[in-house]
């Protein structure tokens, strides 16, 4: 029954899984925020996530070392970010399309490596739940917020860090200047290419981490197209959040809470067809994009390559 949704137990369940589900979105979307604020649209996030997810899974499966898996995933993501930076910053390639190329590469490559070196999905033991002392003892709230795995905490910690870097540091000012008006930034001595290389590489690193948070901390498995387009949602969340980390957090939470709600709708056998329920977060995304697109202006130089003298 639909009223079953409004019991305390279900609400706590929805919140707990919603908080957890937001993790990969947060890493990927915050990383993408850096890139886009500097003027680069990286549409290859999903491919980078897949490669990160695979490499983390592979390392953990072979070595059992979670930290090493995480590290390798970050490295692979950063490398792909670096490649994307080279393509879009140095070679001035059309960003929307080259990103799709990077996505297809990551999609095919992760599948290829998985089939060639593993074959059948074997579950691994991923990051365990790490209850935060004292805080996790708080009734209700403790269970929702402070009994998660370490990558979940990391994702939420990343939001204030990103906010601080973007708004309170010189480098953040450079990122915003390069994304709004690269000519002026250049004339003031900011190295436009360098800033964009850094933001896109960091974005790649975080995409790799996002993939790892999925494969070794959430579902603890890898399979073909594990992300199922999650990286594209992350890109949408950046628009949705108006290129501000705090709003990106809000968007990620709304999206993952609706996803969690949809899972519970299925668990409780509420007579809404599951296929329709799965659609809801995506329809919601379009609606929110419609609502935000008119009020928030993207960085002026987004998707525009920069070269001196035009």
């Amino acid at each position: 029954m639909i009223t079953d949704l409004f019991t305390a137990q279900v609400l706590i369940g929805v919140l707990t899984s919603g908080i957890r589900l937001a993790t990969p979105y947060l890493y990927a979307a915050i990383g993408e925020t850096f890139g886009q604020r500097s003027g680069v649209l990286n549409l290859g996030v999903d491919g980078m996530m897949l490669m990160g997810a695979f490499s983390a899974y592979y390392v953990v499966l072979r070595s059992g070392n979670l930290a090493l898996g995480l590290l390798i995933a970050c490295l692979v993501g950063a490398l792909m970010g670096l490649a994307m930076a080279f393509i879009s910053v140095t070679l001035h390639a059309q960003q929307g399309i080259s990103g799709i190329g990077v996505y297809l590469f990551g999609l095919g490559m992760s599948d290829l490596l998985f089939q060639a070196f593993i074959g059948t999905p074997i579950p691994i033991s991923g990051f365990p739940i790490f209850p935060i002392p004292l805080l996790s003892q708080i009734p209700i709230i403790g269970g929702i917020f402070f009994q998660q795995n370490i990558l979940v905490y990391g994702a939420y910690l990343l939001v204030p860090i990103a906010w601080f870097v973007l708004n309170k540091t010189t480098f953040g000012l450079q990122i915003r200047a390069v994304g709004e008006n690269p000519e002026s930034a250049d004339s003031l001595g900011v190295n436009v290419a360098r800033v964009r290389y850094i933001t896109v590489t960091v974005g790649g690193l975080l995409a790799g981490l996002a993939g790892a948070s999925l494969s070794i901390a959430m579902v603890n498995i890898f399979q073909q197209n594990l992300t199922n387009g999650l990286g594209f949602i992350a890109v949408a969340l950046v628009y949705f959040g108006g290129w501000r980390p705090t709003y990106v957090l809000a968007g990620s939470l709304i999206f993952s809470l609706v996803s969690a709600l949809q899972l519970w709708v299925q668990v409780l056998r509420i007579p809404i067809p599951s296929d329709i329920a799965v659609m809801m977060p995506y329809i919601l995304t379009i609606v929110v994009l419609v609502l935000t697109a008119q009020r928030v202006r993207p960085p002026a130089a987004l998707t525009k390559p920069y070269s001196r003298g035009g």
């Binding site: 059309q94 080259s98 990077v102 999609l107 095919g108 599948d111 290829l112 659609m279």
Partner: protein, 382 residues
């Protein structure tokens, strides 16, 4: 640095060579991707020569192989034609997957509702329904972009997911073949009446849809380069501001470009059903139905330099790669996913190689200016 050429005869000859070079850039990009593929094959312990020989054999080795390649190329061509329209109109359509699915659903519904009508009536009707449904699915992001400034890349991607879920829902509930018995029913429709099968051209799997797609390539060429409508779509794609000043209703033509683009993908979906599968079935994913043609069509169109006629051989090439990949997998044990990865590289390389084309165009312009300055005696400007 500008190259100043002393002899004014020289640039013409160089230009021809450069034009040829530009035209061949996508080919170089593909060769570069295949070279990387060869390295990957070696790293996986396979012989790249043997692998690529198997790929060629799988794609062209027999009449059946060739027919399969053409069948595989058909949706790529249709989606690619749509991509040509959209990209020429300055809008990016990543929604080919969803538009194919919607087109296929609409076409299937036509075939299911009129099981006893003559094929000559139902098939054209189904094709039209597919065209319309794909068009609507592409037109919605177009409208959202024109009216609310919603980024069409994101909205087309969202529309893909929504389309998949709609397909899953309809095939599990409304359109499911109810004659199936047992606990686990396959989410699929009944087989469409055999009278609706697209005619086979030769005794292979090759069907009329391939011919339709090739004809449409010429139609799209005509539309884009020989009609006012096409001229306006391209004008908007080249320069929105100038078009607006010229009195073109930019918003309208952006919606139209995405609508037509979606229509082409929708057609690809119906033709897939009426020419190949003869029913709709889902494994829960988009690729399960489309074979990722919605994405690979983008690759083909880019390879064909966003020209409808160029997209014909490009689709053929990528159809061959996809069909050949299965043989490659059988012979070398290297998963066919290799080809998806290589397709991604082709896209990256093709878009990146634009860099050299632009740089040469830039140098040429500088050289011309320099040459003009040399031949004309300097006159004081006042």
């Amino acid at each position: 640095m500008p190259v100043v050429r002393p002899n004014p005869e020289m640039p013409v000859k160089r230009l021809k060579f450069e034009q040829l070079f530009d035209a061949l850039l996508p080919l170089f990009a593909t060769l570069a991707a295949l070279a990387i593929g060869a390295v990957m094959l070696v790293m996986m312990g396979a012989n790249p020569l043997e692998g690529y020989a198997a790929l060629l054999d799988g794609a062209f080795g027999s009449t059946n192989a060739l027919a399969d390649t053409l069948v595989k190329a058909t949706p790529l061509l249709l989606v690619g034609l749509g991509i040509c329209i959209a990209f020429r109109g300055g809008v990016i359509n990543i929604g080919g997957e969803g538009q194919m699915i919607l087109g296929a659903l609409a076409g299937t519904v036509v075939g299911l509702t009129l099981p006893n009508a003559p094929g000559l009536l139902v098939v054209p009707l189904a094709l039209l329904a597919g065209l319309a449904a794909g068009g609507v699915w592409g037109g919605i992001p177009g409208y959202l972009k024109a009216r609310f400034n919603v980024n069409e890349i994101l909205s087309t991607i969202m529309m893909n997911v929504i389309a998949v879920q709609l397909m899953n829902f309809l095939l599990r509930e409304t359109l499911i073949d109810t004659a199936q018995t047992g606990a686990a029913r396959i989410p699929q429709t009944v087989r469409l009446a055999a009278a609706f099968d697209l005619p086979r051209l030769v005794p292979t799997r090759l069907h009329l849809g391939t011919l339709i797609a090739v004809l449409l390539a010429f139609v799209v060429y005509f539309l884009l380069w020989r009609t006012t409508l096409g001229y306006r779509i391209r004008a908007v794609g080249l320069n929105q501001h100038a078009s607006r000043y010229a009195g073109i209703q930019v918003d309208r033509y952006m919606v139209l470009a995405l609508l037509l683009s979606g229509g082409m993908a929708g057609l690809a979906g119906v033709i897939q059903v009426y020419g190949v599968s003869h029913r709709m079935v889902t494994d829960g994913t988009a690729a399960g139905f489309t074979g990722s043609a919605g994405f690979n069509g983008i690759v083909a169109a880019l390879f064909g330099q966003l020209h409808p006629i160029g997209t014909i051989p490009a689709s053929f090439l990528f159809g061959a790669l996809l069909v050949g990949a299965n043989k490659l997998q059988r012979v070398t044990q290297v998963p066919a996913a290799l080809i998806t990865a290589l397709n991604g590289l082709v896209v990256v390389f093709v878009v990146s190689s634009e860099f050299w084309r632009r740089r040469r165009a830039h140098n040429r312009a500088l050289a011309e200016v320099a040459a003009a300055q040399k031949t004309e005696p300097a006159t004081p400007v006042s």
